[in-house]
């Protein structure tokens, strides 16, 4: 289907199904039950899952295929956000021009940065991209304040000069409120609530738009991975010298790959601006670049589904783990004798709430040390174990990529 072979089609269908059903799947616990805070099925978080999924897919096209570790990808995300924001301020509140423009702008910027950075490889490439991203961050926070809003950031205002306020149903500010980003007149925040026997499912318009974009992005990534172009990129990773001796010039391939990857980041940035019309310079900081590296590694470098899983996992932890507090822990361990309960709570305390970064760091180290292939590798190993014990076990469905 669509030029994909059978396992890839199956993977794509699984991803489509997961994205479509996420509001239900991520809400497994009934409202009001003790486990309800583990529900991730609220629009804000689900949007972040898919947006960072797109970001990580794009990063993986660069790092997974060619092995070039960029530490400056957040610059493209930030540039995309700013570009999208300006489209919504100047043109129309409709998100389509915003998303397109942010992708294009990120593409142009990544072309410039890539052209220079790709003259070096290895650690030097990482440092160059890091230097560019830090420059972009410092400039956005200081000198470029007229464009970026500086420290306060950029947001939509009531008196923005929108040239085509009604373009594609972009809602004008009729009632005197700041117009919200919308598509064909339906606002991004619009949701449909479905109460169902104790559960409450929220189907959010903005989430589904992000989801559709992510599916398209994912499909593109599969096509790139399976194309002759993707094969060239893999050749760069395995042995660039040999590739050169064969008479192939790696430069144009690398540059194209870098730009594609940057455009993915810009797309994610544009969506981010569309979902939450508030952009700050901290989106470009190098810790943000580090985050996408963590996502990709955690999920599985060079695999198709890995980055998406990693992005989901990190965003889930960020939101859910940081919500757990001591009272909750006491509730959970209430069945244990008092001494043991207090002891366990004391032990766990540093890892939850504000300390979730510690958990993240430890988890990340553990993955690098023991499971360099990330979650996908872990899934494969478990699949192999199951197959060993039961010869007739089904083909591992969780790890079709690569």
């Amino acid at each position: 289907m669509l030029g994909l072979n059978k396992p890839d089609t199956r993977l794509l269908l699984i991803v489509i199904a997961l994205v479509a059903a996420a509001p239900i799947l991520l809400n497994p616990f009934p409202e009001g039950s003790g486990l309800a805070q583990f529900n991730a099925g609220y629009p804000d978080l689900m949007q972040r899952f898919v947006i960072f999924g797109i970001f990580a897919i794009g990063f993986n096209i660069l790092f997974g295929l060619t092995g070039y570790l960029s530490f400056g990808h957040a610059a493209f995300l930030g540039a995309g956000s700013y570009a999208g924001m300006w489209m919504m301020k100047l043109l129309s509140i409709n998100v389509i021009p915003a998303i397109i423009f942010s992708t294009v702008i990120a593409g142009v910027i990544s072309l410039l940065i890539g052209f220079i950075s790709l003259r070096r490889s290895g650690i030097y490439f990482s440092i160059l991209t890091l230097a560019f991203a830090q420059m972009a961050f410092s400039l956005a926070a200081s000198v470029l304040t007229p464009i970026t809003g500086g420290e306060t950031g950029l947001q939509t205002n009531l008196n923005d000069p929108r040239i085509f306020p009604e373009f594609l149903g972009g809602g004008a500010s009729i009632d005197g409120n700041i117009p919200k980003p919308s598509l064909f007149g339906i606002e991004m925040t619009a949701s449909y609530q479905l109460p169902l026997a104790g559960w409450e499912f929220t189907f959010n318009w903005g989430y589904y738009i992000c989801g559709i974009v992510m599916i398209l992005a994912f499909y593109m990534a599969i096509r790139i991975f399976r194309s002759p172009f993707g094969l060239m990129l893999k050749a760069v990773k395995s042995n660039q010298q040999r590739m050169n001796y064969t008479g192939l010039n790696a430069k144009p391939y690398m540059l194209a790959c870098f730009v594609i990857s940057g455009m993915y980041a810009g797309l994610a940035g544009g969506l981010m601006a569309a979902m939450d019309p508030q952009v700050g310079a901290e989106r470009m900081q190098w810790t943000a670049s580090g985050e996408v590296v963590l996502m990709t590694i955690l999920g599985g470098v060079g695999t198709l589904i890995g980055p998406v899983l990693g992005a989901g996992l990190i965003k889930y932890f960020e939101n859910i783990f940081s919500k757990i507090n001591d009272n909750l822990l006491h509730q959970w361990f209430a069945f244990l004798p008092d001494g043991i309960e207090d002891f366990l709570v004391t032990i766990i305390h540093p890892f939850i709430g504000k300390g979730w970064h510690l958990t993240l760091g430890l988890m990340f180290m553990a993955v690098i040390i023991f499971l360099p292939g990330g979650l996908v590798e872990g899934g494969k190993r478990i699949g192999r174990l199951v197959r060993k014990s039961k010869d007739t076990a089904p083909d591992g469905k969780t790890n079709p990529a690569e």
């Binding site: 030097y124 180290m365 690098i368």
Partner: protein
């Protein structure tokens, strides 16, 4: 003219910090071939050694002072640090006042121990893995160290003042014939610069004039041959890692009066010190020191008012710009050796 001298002086203290961190990074890279992203965290740990020591020194107990009364007429309760009891009041006060320099003694063994533990416990297993894996695992370690410090010391800056004797500024201009007050420079920054020079000198002397250093240099040049000669080079390299950690830690200890430590100070310095290492030339110790000072001074020149008016924002980006220009024109950096990290 006085402006230029002032900016050079201003650049020296930041440049010293960059140079010390970059020196440690290069030592680790040159000996073990590991790109250590946790080096900024070691700098931060050093700074927190100071905080810990000053807290230990000011541990106190309550004494009822019969001679003074509070507003209710009861005897006043006074907090007396234990060091007052042990060394007498004047010596005790001096010890607390000098807690930052004293932390040097406290930090050296701790930082060496942390460095050795890090190398034996974690980094040893990453020699055969690709550079990307080394970067990532040390990056993870940096996050963990940073979060542990945040858990125990909180997220706020913790001031650690310099000793009373070094508070205030030195009128440098008057000394070399300018108007009084034209070039004034804080005493502690002079101390920091001298300290950095001594430390750099000590590391170089250690590598140059001791048998141990000679073996390490031989190992950097050709590890296998040294091993074939029956020398346990791994153990020496482990110690070098400890020394590099101590250098970064001491840079952090002495930096506390200039900039109050907080848990993410390491990350801020790390990015720049990598730039410094690359500009200096991967694996070149003199290059790292030179580039540290050059970039520090460059940064302070770029923050001059006249320059900012001419090129707004240049002070924020000058280091990165310099790095980009250097990397593209002199791929090996200022003093890079042939054959190091070239692919």
């Amino acid at each position: 003219m006085d402006q230029i001298i002032l900016q050079i002086l201003n650049g020296l203290d930041k440049g010293s910090a960059y140079a010390l961190i970059a020196l440690g990074l290069t030592l680790i890279f040159g000996t073990l071939g590991v790109v250590n992203f946790a080096h900024g965290a070691l700098f931060m740990l050093g700074a927190f050694c100071t905080v810990t020591l000053s807290r230990i020194l000011s541990l106190s107990h309550t004494v009822i002072d019969e001679s003074r009364k509070d507003f209710l007429g009861n005897p006043l309760k006074v907090e007396v640090p234990y060091v007052y009891d042990w060394f007498g009041e004047s010596t005790g006060a001096a010890i607390i006042d000098w807690s930052v320099p004293l932390s040097i003694l406290f930090a050296i063994p701790i930082m060496i121990a942390i460095g050795v533990a890090m190398e034996r416990g974690l980094i040893k297993h990453f020699y055969k893995r690709p550079h990307a894996d080394q970067i990532l695992v040390t990056f993870g370690l940096a996050i963990v160290l940073q979060e542990i410090v945040k858990y125990y010391f909180g997220a706020n800056q913790i001031p650690a003042p310099a000793p009373e004797a070094f508070v205030g500024s030195f009128d440098f201009g008057a000394l070399i014939g300018f108007d009084a007050g034209a070039i004034i420079y804080p005493y502690w920054r002079i101390v920091y610069f001298c300290f950095a020079m001594i430390l750099v000198g000590a590391v170089f002397a250690f590598l140059q004039f001791t048998t141990f250093g000679m073996v390490v240099r031989a190992g950097m040049a050709d590890r296998e041959t040294v091993q074939l000669l029956g020398i346990n080079i791994d153990r020496r390299f482990t110690l070098i890692f400890g020394i590099a950690a101590a250098v970064a830690g001491l840079a952090g200890v002495m930096y506390t009066p200039i900039n109050s430590p907080n848990y993410h100070m390491g990350m801020d310095f790390l990015v720049i010190s990598f730039v410094v290492v690359v500009v200096g030339g991967m694996g070149s110790l003199p290059g790292a020191v030179l580039a540290g000072f050059v970039l520090g001074i460059l940064e302070s020149f770029a923050s001059m008012r006249q320059v900012i008016e001419f090129l707004p924002g240049i002070n924020q980006v000058v280091i990165y710009l310099a790095a980009i220009v250097i990397l593209l024109t002199r791929p090996r950096g200022l003093m890079g050796r042939k054959g190091v990290m070239e692919d």
